[in-house]
Structures are given as structure tokens and as C-alpha cells.
Symmetry: C2
Amino acid sequence: MNKKQSIKISNAVIRRLPKYRRYLEDLLNKKIYRISSKDLSELIGFTASQIRQDLNNFGGFGQQGYGYNVKELYNEIGKILGLDSAYIVILVGVGNLGQALANYAHFYKTGFIVNAMFDINPKLIGLRINGVEVMDVEYLEEYLSQNDIDIGIICTNKESAQDIATRMCKGGVKGIWNFAPIDISVFGNTILESVHLSDSIHTLTYYINHPEDYNA
Amino acid sequence: MNKKQSIKISNAVIRRLPKYRRYLEDLLNKKIYRISSKDLSELIGFTASQIRQDLNNFGGFGQQGYGYNVKELYNEIGKILGLDSAYIVILVGVGNLGQALANYAHFYKTGFIVNAMFDINPKLIGLRINGVEVMDVEYLEEYLSQNDIDIGIICTNKESAQDIATRMCKGGVKGIWNFAPIDISVFGNTILESVHLSDSIHTLTYYINHPEDYNA
């Protein structure tokens, strides 16, 4: 079931994989171990053909006349998403949201280990949160030169976010998960994934005021 | 500058509006009050034609040979997004993330007022967070029958999220901002906007493991 190396898989396909995995996890929780292509399609809300096409990017998993083996597909999608590995995480910007994400990432079952937190605020530096000491962000470069970091979470204000991202890229952080309300740039081999909470709530307020444009 | 009522504006266009507004806010902060269509396009990373088409959905704002009046466009997009109004918000699920969002929404400048919080955990019920008392979620229906709520934030676990959403819809909440890692359904006139944090970080881990698929 090797991925076809020659074809670049589209972002739209990749963003559907975590969703498939969520539904498969729910099925496993309900002790459903086998599902027809049609039932899976009705559950997730994509056509059976769409699901088959998406999964074919990774070798295909269903069997004609059998449907999908839920546990096998759940495990395979987890592997494709890299969730069979642990990730070493650092967090810069230890405000309310940063702390919540540190907890979220920490508790989330799939192996995200928060190893260091940084802030600029003297009131936070030296505090221990979930057993991890908050360090002065001045030491970020030094820390990155001594540690291999998979994921850097940015929860700073928008003014500091690009500077932190640049330092993370230089320090070899593999992926940045950005929550600052700004579009930052990455370079080198660093991957960027942003969550723009303000864009999301502003989309909600748009639809509240223009329900005629909303597709449920 | 009336919106053309006959045409339903696509979700893709609507999701670009908060981004335009963020860039315009940055320009205002830099005391830039006028920008050519070309410069705005280079800044945001969309073509000038794309920007013009997007804005034409709402009447169009640029002037040939002048470009855009930054403050006017910022204000108009704010109005289109409904950010000239305040929103009464309730929050269900007062964990770390819920508290962070309550603070975030509370402090965010655009008029989101958290009026009530609910949880099921006896240790949280009765606590005051930012001056708002956490109530037993048992009283959600009663509260909704007595108050007009614009936005209900759901930060419960995934097992409770649909039940809470259903009760919010029945109670006339205009929009739900869902953070539970599950696809919930809404009905009546309620709008749904979900932020799937786990999907986002799983997309990041995918790209960390498959950098060949990544488009910076």
C-alpha cells in the first residue's frame, strides 16, 4: 500500500483524512468493525466515489463486496497522518490560549509532548505549567540548537509572531502551528499550519447577519 | 453599495473577508491610508482581479487610478462581517480551552460579550471567571428561554457536543462556534462554525512526514 510517489496529493484530500479518522474512531468506540462503502459515505457526508478516490491516493483500502475494515483503515490513516510517532513540541507565548493548547496537545492521545515553553513576560518566566518551566524567549535559539523540535506552537501577539517563526525556522523546527492572528512566512524545510480564530468567528458573525448565504 | 440580493455569496469569498480586514488593519496601524490595487494584491497574495471580484460582491470599493481608501475599505468590510454590532456570547464547557476562548472572545476588540458560562463539573459550577459565574448546564434551557443569545461556544468533550448544540438550536442561539472534535448538526435558523484543532494538528503532522506534498 505504498503511496504513489510521483503524484503530489492535494491539500483538500489531506485535510479530509483527519475527518475520516475521527469518524472511524467513533465507529470503533461503538464496536463497529466493518462498514460498507455506502454506509461510510452517508455517515461522513462525502460520496462513496469521493472516499474511494481519496483513499486510492494512498493505495486504496476497501474490498469489493466487503466494504471497509474499520480498525485497519483507522490505523492506516493514522500512519499516513504520522500519528504512529510522538512529536516533541515547544510553545512560545504562554497566555490563556497557549496554556490551554499546551494542555490540549499534552493530553491529546496521539503523542504530542510539550518539552519547553517560552514567554517574554517576567511574571510567567520560571513558572511551571504541567511540570514544564516557562523560559525566557531570549533562550529560544540556544534551546533549538541543543534540541530537535518537531512542532513549535506560536501563541504570541501578532507583532511578535513573524520574529518567533523566523527563529523557529532557523532553529530547524519541522512544523509551526500558528495561532497568532497574522499570516506568517516560513522558510527552509519548515511546514506552516495556522488556526485563525478571529477569521473563524468573523465568518460566523457574517453568516449570522447574512443567513441567506449560509449552506447548512 | 448594496449587496446584490439575488446572488448567494460563496463560502470561499466570505472566508477571505476577515483576511482582507486583517491586512487593512495592519496598514492602518502603519498609517498607510491609501493603497493601489497592485500593492494590496502583492501584500495579501491574491491577484488584483480576485480582490476586485470578491469586493464586487458587496458593491465594489476601489476607484480606477486611485486604488483603495484603506480606512473606508476596513470599515466597510467590518460592517459586512457584522463587526459594527456587539454579540452576546455564552460558553458551554469551561475547561482550559473554554476559559481561554472566553478570555479571547472577551478581550477581542470587536464586541463579543460573554454573559454566561455553563459546565457539568461541580468543581467549576459557582466559580467566577472574568466576573461571570459558571452555572450548572442543567439550567441552559431556562437561561436560553430568558435571554437572547447571539453566539454559543461549545468546548465540551465530543460525547456531549451534539446534545448541547441541539439545546442551543432549540433555545434560539443564532450561531454556534464549535470546538469539540466532532461534526455536529444544527437546525432551525442556527449557523454553525467549527474549529477542529485536532484536524489542524493532524494536517501538520501529515506534512511534516510528507514534505513533498507541501506547498509553502
